[in-house]
Symmetry: C2
Subunit: 315 residues, 2 copies
């Protein structure tokens, strides 16, 4: 139950994070700032917070999971821009009672998530507070950054990853039924930022992209809105029989999980129908029209599922 | 007492922060990440948190001050690296009860601090939590980044800014005596990141630098430690008669405020004695010896004030 001084803790984190290296890092933890080599490509830069009680609960995941997930959520924004990460900064707010072992668990999760995305934690900050919060800044470079606004009316909508599984995992954990699907629990606790897929989308000529953090309908709506187009999602293409059975077992409509689930960190992108997008499958299309998201049901009927003012869309 | 949706709030912040512009910004708030033009110089990148109850108290400063101060504290790390800022990202954790006006006050402070340093808030994140926290990531570029480790045994130690006034301001506020020194209260609530001075230090041939956030003795020790040298501070050069009188009135030794005060965001740098450092004055020297900070008293006697293991040095 050791609780070292901040100075000692920074030394420990420095050694934990220093086990890996990354290209272009000129100076890491231990000075006023990290220093990185400039490159020829545009810089992509984002920040994200994971707050105990709001974004994670310690009874539903370990602190290692929390560090891992917070880091992946931030890195997922780079994936959505078609960027490759250059480094991660971590700002931790920690209660006085947090032990060294608990801090190390958070840091291990952060380190492992960064490593899986080919990058490292190169600096950060420790502060005192009542609840744990893990704020992650990520910096990357992108030859051609993918925004939400570049989609064209002839594009298809493509998906990399599964939808609804993280929400299912959370629901199972809340009902203490995690044994029902290890896959779902893992989707919730250990999502993956789709860095490689984002880069593949850039190479394949994608015109816009977003990661699914709020739910597929809400995030698709961001693309529809910024690109001034209508998105039509294809129910048949979104179908997932295994998810459907598990959804039924917890009394949730499977489409609710798929369209509103969120936190899967799947990747949506717009690209021509003729594109070859490794790791993606088509799930809908972009058409001229007002910014909204429609669902084409199996019957052929099309109905709106997201539009301006829909805070929670009805399903 | 309006409390808008997150979506509405982001729109408001977007318009508040968009009033200014900065070179090299390709894409600002409203996508998965900000996009910046690369440059030819190394990138300098840092993160800092200001947590309510730990770093600021709402009875001692306004939320506008809190936003301003948090942003300056983060930008001060760029100053200490001799970097010029490219942009600021803000990650806010806000209690459910916080009103739109209160959020706007924080944001105004952030915007004004950034503007004073020639930069802008280009993105960020809003999250729910029990206490307000303002986490700020800053990105800059430096032709020649100033680390803590480059000082030489023949260098002088130079200071830009005053020491001890922020600590005095805090003490006066805590005793409800803020009328005794507006200057001190302002030093505490509205510190300034010394960006221009950091750049001047680089041009003048400085070999190392650090900003004073923990207190001059502790921060000088970081330079001594990383540069493997002894730093000798000159009491006569640190003297401040006006501060001395006010310190006496609150029963604090003036040297305690000057050496341990912290949060002045003054700038310390090492540079040759022959250097012309605009905005700096010499306050000591670097000499061969074990990593420690000594104080040369007016009497000529030298005594240690900081060394490894000194968590709080005695004065």
């Amino acid at each position: 139950m050791t609780r070292s001084s901040e100075h000692e803790r920074i030394k420990k984190l420095r050694s934990l994070f220093a086990s890996s290296q990354t290209d272009g890092l000129l100076l890491s933890i231990g000075d006023d700032a990290a220093v990185l080599a400039p490159g020829e490509h545009p810089l992509v830069w984002s920040i994200d917070a994971a707050v105990e009680g709001t974004h994670f609960r310690r009874d539903l995941m370990s602190l290692e999971d929390a560090g891992y997930r917070a880091t992946m959520a931030a890195l997922s924004d780079l994936a959505a821009m078609g960027a490759s990460p250059m480094g991660v900064l971590s700002s931790l707010v920690l209660p006085r009672t947090l032990t060294d072992d608990e801090l190390e668990a958070i840091a291990r999760g952060q380190r492992d998530a960064a490593a899986l995305c080919g990058t490292v934690v190169i600096g950060g900050n420790l502060a005192r507070g009542d609840a744990i919060s893990i704020t992650t800044a990520v910096l990357g470079r992108a030859e051609r950054p993918l925004t939400r606004s570049g989609a064209r009316a002839t594009d298809r909508l493509w998906l990399s990853g599964d939808l609804g599984w993280a929400a299912l995992g959370l629901a199972l954990l809340e009902e203490k039924r995690e044994a029902d699907s290890e896959h779902a629990v893992r989707a919730f606790r250990r999502p993956r930022a789709r860095i490689a897929e984002g880069l593949a989308a850039v190479r394949a000529g994608a015109t816009a992209a977003i990661d699914v953090s709020d739910g597929a309908a809400a995030d698709a709506f961001h693309v529809a809105s910024e690109s001034a187009l209508t998105i039509v999602l294809d129910e048949a293409a979104l179908a997932d029989d295994e998810l459907g059975e598990l959804a039924a077992s917890i009394g949730r409509p499977v489409l609710d999980l798929i369209l509103a689930g969120g936190e899967d960190y799947a990747l949506l992108c717009a690209a021509p129908a003729s594109a070859t997008l490794e790791g993606f499958r088509p799930i809908g299309e972009l058409v001229a029209g007002s910014p909204q998201v429609l669902l084409r049901e199996r019957t052929g009927t099309t109905r709106p599922i997201s539009a301006p003012g829909f805070d929670h869309f009805g399903l």
